[in-house]
Symmetry: C2
Subunit: 346 residues, 2 copies
DNA sequence: CTGAAAGCGCTAACAG
DNA sequence: CTGTTAGCGCTTTCAG
């Protein structure tokens, strides 16, 4: 009979290194941390550590230091070009400063966002960078961070009424500009496809859209406002609704490029030429906006810079060089990119 | 003069709860862990914990238990529908079993992958789930995990010669089928756009492509093989090269949907109709394959199931119910989806 | 069911 | 520059 014994492998600790080298654990600890560069103790320690397959125990170290050097990131979903680019930037900045990043997805659900918040809290993140879920309406779940002076930075999907810093682009201005552009192309019945108009990014764009109409003598028409959850299915549904109208729109300003693309597909199926019969504009400058024909007029969203800004600001807060409550908003540069999908005049 | 004092806020510990309740810390610990459900000590502890704003200290707990209940995930990049869907599935399975997930991106660089591996190692992950970077050619950096019997599971982008379990789809079969389909549509000069042919996913597809040609009396022609790094720019370049040929291909089988889409754009700019002049097929069933017109024939890639499988298998290994070295390959079901981009006959 | 006590591995005083 | 010592907060025997 064979008996299988699973033994937890003994880990090498700084004490093992210390013993073999006849020095104290404290010295080993210091050598490992580059704190005594003068003599060659350091080299010996490093060599021995390598030899014994030593690996640092962050649990012990963090416990002792009462500091995790970790930044938590909560985002709605990973699967957009915008989000993953922003995270790549955060990761870069953080690791340059010796911070780790832990990520969690709220999957656009406030309930899951709250759970994630609690997990981050228990994991003792030094700071939290957040882009809110689709329908999050209060930010009470971040109170415990504020109470403990753990910096919370919002980016992109932010909360309007908060003292916490928000990193955004000027959604209002860009929406205004892109709507103005459509008007300049001779469009009169401009549909707007958006999501929950409570979330800042969408409400601001909606405001910009309405203001541009107003400033150009076009009355806002409720039936031209389409709300959807931005999934493939609901974008297609919205497109179908537009096509079913007695008097269909002559332009669409969608609040992201994917939905714009999905609608364009529907328009074409109904025999509408783009931009001749209906001009289209999106938002985000997602790769898809350049993949489909005609290329989609959009707003360049500085994802990388936004991630960079969020992480840098966080690091500064943690270093005590900035206070989360002094600057309140950081508005990044962004601009409309005109492409073929909206060019009716030349 | 104002002096700002930053005082690290005192954290509530189980001792604080114990003292206030006149019980021992051990009891509090047990109550918090649902280990004494009988009497109402538990309720009191929970209430007091809430009252004092207690939060568990995972560092202390992990240190003591010598166990992190964390699974590390290393992927090339987050920004694809496939990867983020797979991760969502892993997160779900893991959290159902009380595990956390930490993610890091190799950004398609072997060097960064090695660094990430080391970080995961030091962070004492209980297991590692990996999809390899574009050009990773050895997996020595995972040796230290194998030595310590920390399970390593590869998915999608796996390494051919390893004892570690790999979770994949039948890339060869699907590529064979899709090529066969193009041949059945009357195509004779089928271009293949792929990446590094060393990475399994690409080499297998390439083999399937070649075999389908061979089985149907079509000689493989080197000039019809296009290598690129799958970025937007290089896919467009490849498309241009195809168009510049004296005798351009009459079909394209690209190894992902984005590059297929990017090439289609180029084809159309050169006045080629799809599928009449050139039929197109992609791979992955990415949302973009349904966004562009005509919709792209592709292979349905079970991202969610793959993530689920990887995480479940990992949990089983960690529970001792499975051995990473018994099953060697897990092949998930997948199939070709025929769409308009390749339908030349009816 | 509960308490006492030990120790996980590390770092930061402090002292030499 | 290095060693001694104490303790971070928790879990887990072992006793009672």
């Amino acid at each position: 009979m064979l008996i299988l014994l699973l033994i937890k492998m003994k880990e090498t600790t700084i004490y093992d290194i210390a013993r073999e080298l006849n020095i104290s654990a404290a010295t080993v600890s210091r050598a490992l941390k580059n704190k005594s560069l003068t003599n060659d103790t350091q080299r010996k320690v490093l060599a021995k550590a390598e030899e014994l397959g030593y690996r640092a125990n962050y649990f012990a170290s963090n416990l002792r230091k009462r500091d995790s050097r970790t930044i938590g990131v909560i985002i709605p979903k990973l699967n957009s070009h915008f989000v993953s680019t922003a995270i790549a930037a955060m990761e870069k900045v953080a690791s340059e400063h010796g911070y780790n990043i832990i990520i969690s997805q709220s999957m656009e659900s406030t309930a899951k966002e709250i759970v994630n918040t609690q997990t981050m809290f228990n994991n003792r993140v030094d700071g939290l960078i957040v882009s809110l879920a689709y329908d999050t309406e209060t930010i009470q779940h971040f109170n415990k961070f504020n109470e403990r002076k753990i910096p919370v930075i919002f980016f992109d999907r932010v909360f309007e009424h908060t003292d916490n810093i928000s990193i955004i682009i000027d959604n209002y201005r860009n929406a205004y500009d892109i709507t103005k552009h459509l008007i300049n192309q001779g469009c009169k019945r401009i549909a707007h496809l958006t999501a929950n108009t409570k979330r800042n990014v969408y409400s601001e764009r909606f405001k910009g859209y309405k203001q541009a109409l107003a400033d150009n003598g076009i009355k806002f028409s409720e039936p031209l406002l389409f709300l959807c959850d931005l999934t493939e299915i609901s974008a297609v549904e919205a497109g179908e609704k537009m096509m079913a109208m007695r008097n269909p729109p002559d332009a669409l300003f969608a609040c992201n490029d994917s939905s714009a693309a999905n609608c364009m597909k529907v328009f074409r199926q109904h025999g509408f030429a783009i931009p001749k019969d209906i001009a289209v504009a999106g938002f985000n400058n997602d790769p898809v906006s350049r993949m489909i024909e005609p290329n989609i007029t959009t707003v360049n969203y500085p994802a990388y810079q936004m991630g960079e800004a969020a992480a840098s600001y966080m690091i500064n807060c943690l270093a005590g060089a900035a206070d989360v409550h002094i600057t309140n908003k950081l508005i990044l540069k962004s601009e409309v990119i005109i492409r073929a999908s909206s060019m009716r005049k030349r």
